[in-house]
Each structure stands twice: as structure tokens, then as C-alpha cells.
Symmetry: C2
């Protein structure tokens, strides 16, 4: 029996082990699709409104039809209900351009267990290597075709960077612009602490506008933090009080080394995780 | 009845209108897949060996299992035989990482008619806008995770650039590095003529090593051309004797305007198309 739940925008709940996409779906052929990852825990969907808003923004950036939000809400609810179990699931919402030459996008919602590696990273943190993203942080200004900040499924470079890290005794990556500025991780936002001020780069450097980092910043005061949006360099990360990778499914994960150099967390990780809603 | 033919690496010829990929195929979720486009005409597959070699190189760059080339050859042959008709088809070979957590890649071969727009572009040429690719042409050296020259399906930016061009009364794009150097088109190699010397950028600037441009260069002398691999700027393209976009399915397509400025072809297009094997 499958431990996954699949819902299609046209057909409701369907068999997760059955094929869903045609070979000529542009999501398959061209990575021409947008997505969101949402955490489900004990029946609650974290920040679903914000994820649906970002899905809509990503779809607009790709000239996809605006998502039918009531239909998506219904489908996400069906999938969450069918998941049923206590504990957590990773929910993915995917919207592709549909088959080549057609006029119907393909939309589906997929629930799967939280990977064992994610649970381990929340507990033990991640070793990180910094890698060039090959772009300057100013590349994306007035260049909408570069899809800065758009959550498309064209993640081959992100995945290749993670594999490159894994082959070098690390679990994750922080991308650096060719101007030396910290950008983002392949699937997370970078947060660091100066004293007890939590900092993160502005989305204008061409990175995804993180939803979980917004949650962290909204909850920061209640956990004793100030917040600041600012640019930084790798050197700033080395001298910070702590560094975390923040994302919807993982929450806040402590960075324990950067390029092989130890990276203490200033004893702050539990409070940052609590601010992310995964205490 | 479908005018398309679909073959799966596991199952041979299958119904092209039936879904083939699971929702959790990493080719769907992450654009984590490689592909090739091959022209079929009157039973002949153009440069199949070169396309299979590049598919293998792309797979290696993505740490995918090496393609089983005899199996791919058999499948491509089955699809081409099933296509049967005289005239042309566009054949696509796609290899994804397969379902998340699985250990079997997904491979398929897909034949479809040459789009009407392609036939028109071969005849009438294309109007082109130049767009920044946001990268310097030196970004890809020693940065294998950036997948320079790797034909992955993560083409969202390429597709967004084409849509951006279409909204500006153009049909295609020439990407420019942030250092001002000509890179490539979203789905083609750029070729220009200085006098009767055909020129193209070196793959080391981070672009795909084009198979059809290799054919053009191999056949150049027989059609009265010299050849040269060199870097260039947009200004060089404006002052060239002619500019073409070269790719497997379209062959050589004349660029008729660049950023709204007329771009004559020096009367060379028919000879360049002949060198590309589409006379």
C-alpha cells in the first residue's frame, strides 16, 4: 500500500502509483511549471494562503493561467484529509503548462512522508559548501525572463549543486553571486544572526521570497530576536552568531560547517526553530 | 487518431495519449532530466550517433545512469518505423531520474509533426531580440553544478525568454552574457558570417555544443564557406554578413532583425541551410 496521497485538479483523489502526466506535458519536456511545498502537521497546513499567493505569482511570471484558488484549496483539503494520520507530511502543489499545443494546464497535489534525511537535518544541522550561482545579484532587475524569485520546477542546477555538495561530505549549498553576495540555498532561504538580530538577504538579489523566513521574522520578537533584511558576504556568515537554512518542510536547520570551517550556532537554534513553527 | 508516436524504454510503443510519468517523477518535480531533439526525414535520423553521445554526456553531468545505447537505438528505430510516413518528424529523446526514491530512470522517445511555425521560420526567418542571460561567459569554467552545455529539461528561463520575445513582435532570442558576449539562443546555436566565413561561439562560454552547427561546419567547404570558432558581441552580429539560428529540427533559420534593426543575410541563407542538411 502506498504511503503517498495524490490528487489531480481535474479528477480529485487518484492512485499515486499510476502515471499522471503525458510524455508531451510541457512540465515534463521543458520544466515549464511552478510549484509550492507546504508542511502538513496534525491536520494543519502551514501558511497555505501565502503558498497559494506565491503559486499565483509564479504562474503569472510564467504566463500560466491564474490558478483557480478555490479548486486548489478543495484539492489540498482532500489530500490532507486522506493523509489523515497524525504527524507530518510534505505536500507539494504543482501546476504545469499542460500538453504541448493544448490549452489545459496540469495541476496536482501530492502528499508524502517527511524524508528521514529532513528529520536528521533538523536535529543535527547541515554541513554546507558555498558555490557560485554564476550570476550577479543585480542580474534579475528589469529581466523578468530570468525568473528571479519564481518557483519553477526547472531545478536541475539546484539538484546538481546538492549532488556536488554530497560528493564533498556536505549536505547543502549556499549559492553566492559573482559579486560575492550571499544568495540562497537550492531549496531554502539563508538566515544568520548578528548578536540576536536575525538577518536575511532581500528578494531583490534574485532569490525566492521565502515564506518560512517571513514566519520566522513575524515570530522573531516573541522569541527574543530583532530582524534585519540586508546583503551579506560569505565572510559575514563565518563571523555571524549562527547561520540557518529556512524552508517550509525543514523549518530552520542549523548550518554546522561552511566550506569545512566550523560554524557554531550561538545556542540559538532551538529559538529559531520555534520562531519557524517547528519547535 | 493521434499524429504522434510514443515509445517507452521499458515497454516499447505505447499510446501517446495515455499518461506516462508519475507525479513524483523527478523529471516532473525538479526538471531533473536530459533530452535530445532529432530530425527524422524520409526514414533517416539526422546525426543519431552524435545525439546519443550528447545524451550520454548530459546524463553523466547529472549523475544519471549511463543510457543503454542499444536499447535507445532500438526504441528510436521502432518509433521511426511506426511514424512511417514520408516527410519530416521531430523526435525527442527524454531521460529522467525516475520517481523520487526509486532506482529506475524514466526514458521515452516521442515523434511529432514538425510545427507549422518551424516550417514558416525556415522560409521567412526570425526576428530576434537580445536578452541578458544574467551570467558571465566565464561562469561555467570549473563550475560543473551550473550545467553549462548540459541539455537538461530545466528550460523554464529559455521558454520565458521566448515568450518575452513573442510579446515584443519577435520570434526568437539571442542570449548575451553580462560581459557582452554572444552566448546562444534558447533552443539553437548562433552562427554568423564574416564575408563567407561562418563563425560560432566556443562551447567554453557555457553554451550547448550544437550538433547541427557541427554538421554545418563539416559541410562548409563544400558549400564555399570557411569556418571559425570565435567570441563575438552584439555589435559584431549587426555588422556581420548574415546571422542564423541553427538547431536540429529547424536547421538554419535566417535572423531578419536584431532588436528591431534589419539584418540582411548576404544572400547566403540557402547555402547555409544546404550545409545544415536542410536545403
Amino acid at each position: 500500500m502506498s504511503d503517498r496521497i495524490l490528487g489531480s485538479l481535474g479528477a480529485g483523489l487518484i492512485d499515486p502509483d499510476a502515471p499522471l502526466l503525458r510524455a508531451d506535458d510541457l512540465g515534463v519536456l521543458r520544466g515549464d511549471a511552478v510549484f509550492e511545498g507546504v508542511r502538513l502537521h496534525d491536520g494543519t497546513l502551514d501558511a497555505l494562503d501565502a503558498h497559494l499567493a506565491r503559486l499565483t505569482a509564479s504562474a503569472t511570471a510564467l504566463d500560466l493561467p491564474a490558478p483557480d484558488l478555490p479548486a486548489w484549496r478543495t484539492l489540498v483539503g482532500q489530500v490532507a484529509d486522506a493523509w489523515g494520520r497524525a504527524g507530518e507530511a510534505a505536500i507539494r502543489l504543482v501546476l504545469t503548462r499542460g500538453v504541448d499545443g493544448g490549452d489545459e494546464p496540469t495541476g496536482f497535489v501530492f502528499a508524502a512522508p517527511i524524508p528521514e534525511s529532513t528529520l536528521r537535518q533538523r536535529r543535527d544541522g547541515v554541513r554546507v559548501v558555498t558555490l557560485s550561482r554564476g550570476v550577479t545579484s543585480t542580474s534579475f532587475v528589469d529581466a523578468p525572463w530570468l525568473l528571479g524569485g519564481v518557483k519553477s520546477t526547472s531545478y536541475a542546477v539546484n539538484m546538481a549543486a546538492l549532488r556536488y555538495a554530497h560528493a564533498r561530505d556536505a549536505e547543502d549549498v549556499i549559492f553566492i553571486g559573482s559579486d560575492g553576495l550571499v544568495l540562497e540555498a537550492p531549496t531554502a532561504t539563508v538566515v544568520w544572526a548578528i548578536g540576536e538580530t536575525l538577518c536575511t538577504p532581500p528578494p531583490s538579489v534574485g532569490i525566492l521570497d521565502g515564506i518560512t523566513v517571513q514566519t520566522v521574522f513575524e515570530n522573531a520578537a516573541e522569541h527574543g530576536f530583532r530582524t534585519k533584511i540586508m546583503k551579506s558576504t560569505v565572510e559575514d556568515l563565518h563571523t555571524a552568531n549562527g547561520v540557518w537554512l529556512v524552508s517550509s518542510i525543514r523549518g530552520a536547520v542549523a548550518v554546522t560547517t561552511i566550506d569545512g570551517k566550523d560554524r557554531p550556532d550561538g545556542g540559538l537554534t532551538k529559538r529559531v526553530q520555534a520562531a519557524a513553527g517547528l519547535g
